[in-house]
């Protein structure tokens, strides 16, 4: 082809092309003898409507140009990409360090986000789950003694259900357990919920096979029917759809299976089968019998605000209608908040900390890139000379950053996947809904976003500076300006930022770790070593006479105590950390309770013999409970310290009396069988050591019914082993089987495991924050070291001259150390301020009605944390700059001067 000519813009291109064509045609026609004017007219005529054709061509040409520039962009990008990969391969150490640093940071962010996503962001697995809410009762007397959250009483639920307009449907349930026997399988005890027909309607979930309970089944004394959970159906009954309509044995009672729930459905969490509740006015019990959980679905268009307004009205009405009811009222909370409980606060904290880790990693990599950019000035200069513009250089370096970030994202995804799986496997109960955590589109979107942001953060400044330098070096002949002033300032700024952010993470971690260690070292109130615990239920089918249940337990305990290696055994309606039953009581030594008085309410545990002795709970006053405190003897109780302090402050409580409402079997008249206090023990821990102690009473199970609630049939057994729990467990199981082979042991565990599980939320938070803090510390130290040693390397000549001029070694060291210490000290000052603000935020996270908070036993502005950690970081900073400083003093002047 002929010489090239630059393409004109598309408007002129068409004009030029067409006029050339016309000229050529005129030339042809005149050569054939046409008159020039005719020839021109003919040539133009052949175009038809020339203006329209031009317009068409211009439009096509413009579209062609956009396509071409797009293609050019892609080609350049592909080129840049290939170039970037080659460049990175040429410096594998740099590439690996960067990819690992960013990979860990992106991985940690992805992992934490996938938990946030699964726990907080994904909707609950029910249709229109945002319309679901749960109801609780609160007791808030003017005396200020608040019981913020407990179950409803039957009448409370029924009253509210009758009048509620805010809820389209309401369901009510209680938790229980049933033994599955027969069918050739081992006896097994499963968690069940006894629920009204309204629960499934409210949740909007239908059985996978069969049907839900009918209103006719949900009545007192209704037929024995059950709906099985998916896993029970699949594992115990072989996944046979023909099970519908057949009968199975539950607690020895033949029960017809009417439905099977779909896989994954377990409401309330952990429930494996459902039975009709049959709650109505005849079975609801008194207004003080709080044992019912309630869930509701908002009517269309209704909000939680409407519910609150409605509940306010109910509260006022009840206060007028019922005596002593003024301080009892219902409140509602949306189901999602209820389930995730305090997880949002923890996850917010973790997400913020891990975000800072990513920023620190970005700062570090930006530092590396700046240093690399300076080393590559030669290469950049060559490319500039070859015609690459400043934009092109910047873009090429930015591509390199994106390649690094993308590789890091791949590493991060693998780490995140492994990390979350490991975390969940380690402790599936550390957070609610952990089972729903996994990689999904949200998580991938987040990772992509985080990666792009990362590349922008660490890549843009170095790329911009390199582009600038390229432009400058094209203009001037001397391009050797290692550690230019602008770059140096930027790097010191990065160190300052890095140190500040690390300090925030480290202080947050310090506070959380300190509160976790306060939790673990808090007194659990009993000797937790070598204690085997499990639960048993003596079902009415096999043990019809409730009065004989305590004696049956004593016989069983005697068998267990006879097992070699067992030093003691006891049983109770709940062991420490095993939850709380609260009953209202009466007091003998004062007039009937007045409105506004303290709640006459305490936790209650029915205990078998040797309870305090076996668990290692000291008697602080009076005596414990003995075998002489049996049926027909004077009713006695041991109370906790706060029970004594709250109701008999500054008095001797031994001999004081309290009691529970009882109804006479024949006349139905109510009376109070008084119970005499014989001893005082420390306050028990009922769920977590972080909870405020609550008044508690212990009554001997053997004395039988002391209230309308009767005697508990389900007890938890605690067995103290002489050497180890593992060595006695099989023999204890055999002893129980010899007593009754249809009696399944459930919740078999050790007290240590129970205590440990009560701390799983704080533990996961502390462990993760600790890990994040370690990572940021390492990154910060590496960052400081990198900046200082790079600056020393750049000043070899200057230092050499100083040494040659007789500068003392320690003066050089001081100069370098000072240079490192300044940005570190500034960073620490900024970090302290930020950390202080951050702890304010933690405090500001609204504490939930159940009283759980992230910090325990440590002040948000804990002086120890706020002084030791910054000092430690400063020390690390000095060490990190001391090594390059030492190296600087060894620079021989001759060598330094020869370097250029």
């Amino acid at each position: 082809m002929e010489r090239r000519v630059v393409r004109p813009p598309v408007e002129r291109e068409v004009d030029d092309e067409f006029s050339f064509h016309v000229e050529m045609r005129v030339r042809e026609l005149t050569a054939r003898g046409w008159h020039e004017d005719d020839a021109r007219a003919e040539a133009i005529r052949r175009f038809g409507d020339m203006e329209r054709v031009k317009a068409d061509c211009r439009e096509l040409g413009a579209r062609r140009d956009t396509r071409m520039s797009r293609r050019l962009w892609w080609d350049e990008t592909r080129q840049d990409f290939g170039y970037a990969v080659r460049q990175l391969r040429r410096s594998p150490g740099f590439a690996a360090l960067t990819i690992v640093t960013l990979g860990i940071a992106i991985g940690a962010n992805t992992a934490v986000f996938s938990v946030v996503n699964g726990v907080l962001l994904r909707p609950l697995p029910y249709p229109e789950a945002e319309r679901l809410a749960v109801l609780w009762t609160r007791y808030l007397p003017p005396s200020g003694f608040d019981i913020p959250k407990f179950q409803l009483s039957g009448p409370e639920f029924l009253d509210y259900q009758e009048t509620s307009r805010a809820f389209e449907s309401l369901g009510v349930y209680v938790n229980g357990s049933r033994a599955l026997t027969g069918e050739g399988s081992d006896a097994e005890r499963i968690r069940v919920a006894l629920q009204s027909a309204g629960v499934l309607t409210t949740l909007g979930v239908r059985p996978m096979f069969g049907r839900a309970f009918t209103p006719q089944e949900d009545v007192p004394g209704g037929p024995a029917v059950t709906i099985l959970g998916y896993d029970v159906w699949a594992n115990r009954f072989g996944g046979d759809p023909g099970i519908i309509g057949t009968s199975i044995l539950m607690n020895g009672v033949s029960t017809e299976v009417v439905g099977v729930m779909p896989e994954g459905f377990s409401y309330p969490e952990g429930t494996r089968a459902w039975l009709p509740l049959g709650l109505d006015r005849t079975t609801a019990g008194g207004r003080g019998g709080h044992g019912y959980y309630a869930v509701g679905r908002l009517a269309p268009g209704m909000t939680m605000g409407d519910v609150r307004a409605e509940l306010d009205v109910v509260r006022q009405r009840w206060a007028q209608e019922f005596e002593h009811n003024e301080a009892h009222f219902l409140w509602a909370q949306d189901l999602h908040s209820e389930i995730v409980a305090d997880a949002p606060a923890r996850l917010l904290l973790l997400m913020s900390a891990v975000g800072l880790v990513l920023l620190v990693a970005c700062a570090n990599v930006a530092n590396l890139l700046l240093a690399r950019g300076e080393r590559r000035q030669g290469e950049v200069a060559v490319r500039t000379t070859l015609g690459a513009g400043r934009g092109r250089i910047t873009r090429q370096l930015a591509t390199e950053s994106f390649v690094l970030a993308a590789a890091a994202a791949a590493v991060g995804l693998v780490l995140a996947l492994a990390g979350t799986r490991g975390l969940i496997a380690l402790d599936p109960e550390a957070l609610p809904r952990l089972g729903e955590v996994g990689l999904d589109a949200n998580v991938l979107l987040f990772t992509t976003g985080a990666t792009l942001l990362t590349a922008l953060l660490f890549g843009v400044a170095p790329a911009y500076l390199a582009g600038r330098r390229a432009a400058a070096s094209a203009a001037s002949s001397t391009h050797r300006t290692v550690g230019g002033r602008r770059t140096g300032a930027l790097r010191r700024l990065l160190v300052t930022g890095e140190v500040a952010m690390s300090l925030v993470v480290v202080i947050l971690a310090g506070l959380v770790v300190r509160s976790f260690s306060a939790l673990t070292s808090a007194d659990p109130g009993l000797d937790t070593d070598d204690l085997l615990t499990f639960s048993l239920t003596l079902p009415p089918a096999a043990y019809p006479d409730a009065d004989l249940v305590p004696a049956a337990y004593e016989t069983l305990l005697e068998r267990v105590r006879a097992v070699p290696g067992v030093v003691g055994a006891t049983a109770a309606s709940a062991l420490p950390f095993g939850g709380l039953s609260q009953w209202d009581f009466q007091l003998d030594d004062r007039p009937p309770r007045q409105e506004g008085d303290l709640a006459w309410n305490a936790g209650i545990t029915h205990v078998a013999t040797d309870y305090f002795e076996t668990l290692g709970i000291p008697i602080v006053e009076g005596r414990g409970l003995t075998t002489r405190d049996g049926r027909g003897e004077a009713l006695v109780a041991v109370v906790s310290r706060s029970m004594a302090a709250r109701f008999w402050p500054d008095q001797n409580v031994i001999g004081k009396r309290f009691g529970y409402q009882m109804a006479d079997d024949e006349t139905g008249e109510s009376y109070v069988p008084w119970i005499t206090i014989v001893g005082v023990v420390p306050d028990p821990v009922t769920s977590s050591v972080a909870r405020e102690p609550y008044p508690h009473v212990y009554v001997p199970e053997a004395q039988g019914g002391i209230s309308t609630y009767g005697v508990p049939r389900s007890l938890s057994v605690a067995v103290r082993a002489g050497t180890s729990v593992a060595s006695v467990t099989p023999a204890v199981r055999r002893a129980v089987a010899e007593f009754d082979r249809d009696l399944p042991l459930y919740q078999v565990t050790t007290m240590e495991a129970v205590v440990s599980r009560s701390l799983s939320g704080p533990r996961i938070t502390a462990n993760l924050l600790g890990a994040f803090a370690t990572v940021t510390l390492v990154l910060a130290v590496v960052g400081i070291y990198g900046v200082i040693s790079y600056s020393v390397a750049g000043r070899t000549r200057e230092i050499g001259v100083r040494v040659a001029l007789g500068a003392e070694r320690h003066a050089i060291t001081r100069m370098i150390l000072g240079e490192g210490a300044r940005p570190v000290a500034l960073g620490i000052a900024v970090g302290l301020a930020c950390a202080f603000a951050a702890t304010r935020l933690i405090e500001a996270v609204p504490s939930r009605p159940d009283g759980s908070s992230i910090l325990y036993g440590v002040q948000p502005a804990d002086p120890l944390t706020f002084s030791l950690l910054p000092l430690g970081l400063l020390a690390l900073g000095i060490v990190a700059s001391w090594i390059p400083a030492l190296r600087a003093t060894r620079i021989a002047p001759t060598e330094a001067l020869r370097e250029e």
């Binding site: 082809m1 052949r46 054709v53």
Partner: protein
Amino acid sequence: MGLSRTGRGLLHGTLDALVLKTLSHGALHGYAIARWIEERTGGAIQVEEGSLYPALYRLEKKGLLRSEWGVSELERRAKFYSLTSRGQATLEAQTEEWLRFSSAVTSLLGSV
């Protein structure tokens, strides 16, 4: 009589195929393309410029042609078109298709 001298008389897509064929021997400017077609078909096909240029721009947009400005044999600035590799492939495919089609038509008409 021969085919009409207007592009409209050509079967749809035929002009594109002719352009591609014309350029298979080397780069040409628009006028040369028109002339080449006229000469090769003995004037039986006259390409109207109002159809030819939009066809050239369209083919270039599709990436079957590329264009470059150069200097013509008469020392004038001209825009030269040449085939891209995709254009070459398209030409081969269209030629094959056309031959199959025309032989089918020929055998059909010939058999009457």
